[in-house]
């Protein structure tokens, strides 16, 4: 009898150039917004591509059944998600079609935690459903030009990578707009409708990217993305649409900064108990974590490593300069796009600042999970009054994040006033997790209210004055209007402070439109009493300036 052959790991069959036109590339792991834009980048390069459906509880159950026990929930959810999709395809189109007409593409060929070992979990799950021949490709998250993947069907080159990176950045920027607007919208649901339209504008921009004209030279491709007005012009269209959303920012809402494990904090869905949505419904304004910060963080590692080699390898100096240049360019690009959106999206924090803030508690060279960033971000938000509380999402049994969370104990000892809600996410213990968050949120709400009331008093602001402003300075009701950070954590408090500082402008507005047809803004009881069609003449109330 022949001996059993030695065990071999999963190795995907090649995905050839010829197969490209008939093969749908599957991908996922971000929000629907990011994914739709990435799809645009794929379509632009003539790939068939489709994001996996949003994560559900059923994915957790499927994942648990198929992989070794004890995995972290991002691994279980994402494995289950892929498997459930493939099972459906197998049922609808047959096994052969499920195997041959689709291929999966993800980041994950890196990292010291399970993130670097997704391949093993996924392949085990494929074995479990009898689809071992299904093709999966794991790409490094730190290389721009990874060349042809096995078979050449997927070319990870500059046009594709820049497309994906720009899609991620723009996905982040629009997510910032979304979360700054929805809690204050006057017409419920309007933000989501406009957001969809805006994502479609940007999808078209990605799909129609004039890549043919710039393809060929990788540096030219990168340069075009950095300097051309192509995407910034499209973003101007977005902000023009955004302007049509009516908001009332004179509200006391706790600002909740989300941090945590990469997948879990980015995700919007069952994977994290829809916690961002839940927080909004509980009356909070959420500061979502941009993927852009993660990419910035990843770029720091080679920089640190090169810096360390300076004394032993002369060639590193040039590489350091190049990498620093790339990082500068990255920030510049992000800020340039922010400017096209009236600078509404938040600025990326400086990685140096985050590392310095975290230094007494966590060494910035330790990677995996969010590392020191988890600490740096919480401290940054607290010390700069950018949020009332930080909600930190850690997957149950996550290896790196538990270490950062442990180190946070020291931070909390030093800053007992810092409101910090570390939420462990298992995927199936929603009530427990949300009630933990609720406890801290209640305190955050109190602080937001207190802060708002104090600012109202300090600025001598009254509902009547707010009414007057609403009638005379309609631009403040436009969602595209940026409320500057005036030193308070809450948007409402910053808004009131801003109004009190804008005397000149308001007077001008008043002179121009002494008689106006008022439109009521919701949640202000005084205003609802004013008939919407009635024409009134208003007097400028007295404002006290901070």
């Amino acid at each position: 009898m022949e001996p059993t052959p030695h065990y071999k790991a999963y190795k995907p069959k090649p995905f050839t150039k010829e197969q490209r036109k008939d093969t749908t590339l599957l991908f996922g792991g971000l929000t629907w917004k990011h994914e739709r834009l990435i799809q645009g980048a794929f379509h632009n390069l003539n790939y068939k591509a489709e994001p996996l459906p949003n994560i559900t509880r059923a994915d957790l159950d499927t994942g648990k059944e198929l992989i070794d026990v004890g995995a972290c929930c991002p691994t279980i959810f994402t494995t289950g998600n892929l498997v459930n999709y493939l099972k459906k395809k197998k049922e609808e189109e047959g096994k052969e079609a499920a195997v041959n007409d689709y291929a999966y593409f993800t980041m994950g060929a890196c990292g010291p935690c399970r993130f670097g070992q997704y391949r093993e979990s996924y392949s085990m799950a494929l074995d479990g459903i009898g689809l071992r021949d299904f093709r999966m490709f794991f790409l490094s998250q730190t290389e721009l030009n990874q060349g042809d993947q096995e078979g050449g069907g997927l070319e990870v080159n500059m046009p594709l990578t820049t497309g994906i990176v720009w899609a991620i950045l723009i996905g982040d920027l629009l997510t910032d707009l979304e979360f700054q607007t929805r809690p204050y919208e006057v017409v419920p649901g309007q933000t989501n409708i406009v957001l969809k339209e805006c994502i479609e504008i940007m999808y078209q921009a990605f799909k129609n990217r004039p890549i043919d004209k710039i393809k060929g030279n990788k540096w030219l491709t990168l340069g075009w993305h950095v300097v051309s007005n192509y995407f910034t012009d499209a973003l101007k269209e977005v902000i023009a649409k955004w302007k049509t959303i009516e908001v009332n920012k004179a509200q006391a809402k706790p600002m909740v900064k989300i941090t945590g494990e990469f997948w879990l904090q980015t995700h919007e869905g069952d994977g994290n108990y829809n916690i961002k949505d839940w927080l909004e419904k509980e009356g909070a304004e959420v500061i979502p974590p941009p993927v852009a910060v993660w990419l910035d963080y990843l770029m720091q590692f080679p920089l640190h490593a090169l810096n360390e080699r300076k004394n032993v390898d002369k060639g590193t100096k040039k590489k350091i300069l190049m990498l620093k240049g790339m990082i500068k360019m990255y920030h510049w690009t992000y800020n340039r796009m922010r400017k096209s959106l009236n600078e509404m999206p938040y600025e990326m924090p400086s990685q140096k600042t985050l590392a310095e803030l975290a230094a007494p508690y966590f060494n910035f060279r330790l990677d995996g999970g969010e590392g020191h960033m988890l600490i740096g971000k919480a401290l940054y938000a607290y010390l700069n009054n950018k949020a009332h509380m930080t909600c930190e999402l850690t997957p149950y049994s996550c290896m790196p994040n538990t270490m950062s969370v442990g180190a946070m104990a020291n931070v909390r000892g030093k800053y007992p006033e810092l409101l910090y809600a570390p939420i462990e996410i298992k995927g199936d213990a929603e009530i427990h997790a949300l009630s933990r968050c609720q406890m801290i949120l209640t305190e955050a709400k109190k602080r937001a209210l207190k802060e708002y009331d104090e600012v109202m008093k300090k600025c001598n602001m009254t509902p009547e004055k707010l009414e007057w402003i609403a009638l005379n300075a309609p631009e403040y009701k436009e969602a595209s209007f940026k409320v500057p950070h005036n030193g308070y954590a809450g948007t409402g408090a910053n808004y009131i402070t801003m109004l009190s500082q804008y005397k000149g402008k308001l007077t001008k507005t008043l002179k121009k439109t002494a008689t106006v047809t008022p439109k009521p803004i919701a949640a202000e009881t005084v205003l609802t009493e004013v008939a919407a069609t009635e024409t009134v003449t208003v007097q400028e109330p007295e404002l006290t300036y901070a």
Binding site: P3, A71, C72, R114, Y361, N363, L366, T402
Partner: protein, 398 residues
């Protein structure tokens, strides 16, 4: 397995003139945890190299429930795997439990490890909890008040990439210069001494393993390979399960000290190399392409060894409670071993208490199977080999 951590008085030491300061009275405590278990010789060599007397280098004792109770209580900050959780007790023992007080508590952040697989795998990183465990544990001793300061102990936690020897002097100089008042030159020299001590020790241990393997081959007797993380050698973490087995007369080989002798390696892997499955005996891409983590890589490599070396008829796999790194390796490791007909037994979820009763029953079961099946396993595995034992002397097949 008990490894002596202190006896390196004959290691090469720098001459006194090279040292910028007299540090002979400084006492340094090292928590004997995680990857200290396979780098202790480096740290001893290094400390001696900067002039610390070896009698002033104190390791905490093996992990135990008493240690946790007496010294680590209330210091935990987060729930995680036992080897990390247990660190609190080690810190406490060094701070509070020494007759002669320590001056420095040295708990390095070891980012990457030297490994025999280095150069054949993607990376040699440690588990993210191994590298950052110290940051988590120290926080339990600082959250209310700074216990280190209170006890006049300097806390030192240098970051280091031990797989990249050339930059270790700079890293340790940056991390320790203020603690020991070091110069770069003496740090560099001490690092060299540290690595020499580590290499010498590893060679010695590999030689001992080789003797066991040769003896088994010569007498056609089975041995047992332990596949585990280095800290499972700690009697409080691995619970001496392999010792119970050894008591039944089966020699034990730990994967960390499996010999890398080229002749043996070529004998085991020449077919795989010829078939272009792998490029070298230390290449594990055929079974584990995600080869980023050094201990995990070695686990997979050890499973391949067990699948091939005829006289290893049984593998004992140890894994701690809530070990996230082990989780994805369970099935591949078991399959690699079992596909070859070798027996495989896993002791998972190891925690603070030794499940003595169930261990005893399982050890008896293992002994029963090893006794019953070893002869046929050896025969079958020998039949797979293309050449006879002892193999012809060879240079490394890389």
């Amino acid at each position: 397995m008990n490894i002596q951590t202190l006896l390196t008085p004959f290691a090469r030491k720098p001459s006194k003139e090279l040292l910028s300061k007299d540090r002979s009275t400084v006492r340094v405590g090292i928590p004997k945890v995680l990857n200290i278990w396979n780098t202790h010789q480096f740290w001893i060599g290094f400390l001696e190299g900067i002039g610390i007397k070896y009698t002033n280098i104190v390791f905490s004792s093996n992990t135990s429930e008493e240690q946790s109770r007496e010294f680590g209580k209330g210091r935990g900050t987060v729930d995680c795997c036992y080897p990390v959780k247990a660190m609190s007790g080690h810190y406490g023992e060094l701070i509070f439990g020494q007759k002669k007080k320590i001056n420095v508590l040295l708990s390095p952040l070891i980012y990457s490890m030297p490994s025999s697989l280095q150069g054949h795998v993607v990376a040699n990183n440690t588990c993210t909890r191994v590298m950052a465990g110290a940051e988590n544990i120290k926080s339990g001793y600082m959250k209310e008040k700074d216990v280190f300061v209170e006890n006049q102990i300097k806390y030192a936690s240098p970051y280091c990439t031990l797989d990249d020897r050339i930059i270790v002097p700079q890293q340790l100089f940056d991390g320790l210069k203020d603690i020991f008042d070091l110069t770069y030159e003496e740090t560099k020299k001490a690092v060299e001494i540290g690595f020499n001590a580590l290499d010498t020790f590893n060679k010695k241990m590999q030689k001992q393993s080789m003797d066991i393997l040769e003896q088994c081959a010569k007498t056609n007797k089975p041995c047992v390979l332990v596949i585990a993380r280095p800290y499972h050698m700690d009697t409080g973490i691995g619970h001496e399960i392999e010792t119970d087995l050894q008591a039944h007369g089966y020699p034990i080989v730990w994967m960390q000290y499996f010999p890398t002798d080229p002749t043996l390696m070529n004998w085991l892997f020449e077919e795989d190399i010829k078939e272009k499955q792998i490029k070298s005996p230390f290449d594990i891409s055929d079974v584990w392409p995600s080869s980023y983590s050094s201990n995990t890589n070695e686990i997979l490599w050890a499973a391949k060894i067990a699948a091939r070396f005829p006289w290893i008829t049984c593998v004992i796999r140890l894994s701690s409670y809530e070990c996230g790194m082990d989780q994805p390796t369970f099935t591949p490791t078991q399959k690699i071993v079992e596909n070859s007909g070798t027996l495989f037994f896993k002791f998972g979820d190891l925690d603070s208490t030794k499940p003595s009763g169930s261990v005893r029953i399982r050890v008896e079961t293992i002994v029963h199977y090893v006794k019953k099946n070893s002869a046929s396993i050896i025969e079958k595995k020998l039949a797979r080999m293309k050449t006879q034992w002892p193999p012809v002397k060879a240079e490394a097949l890389v």
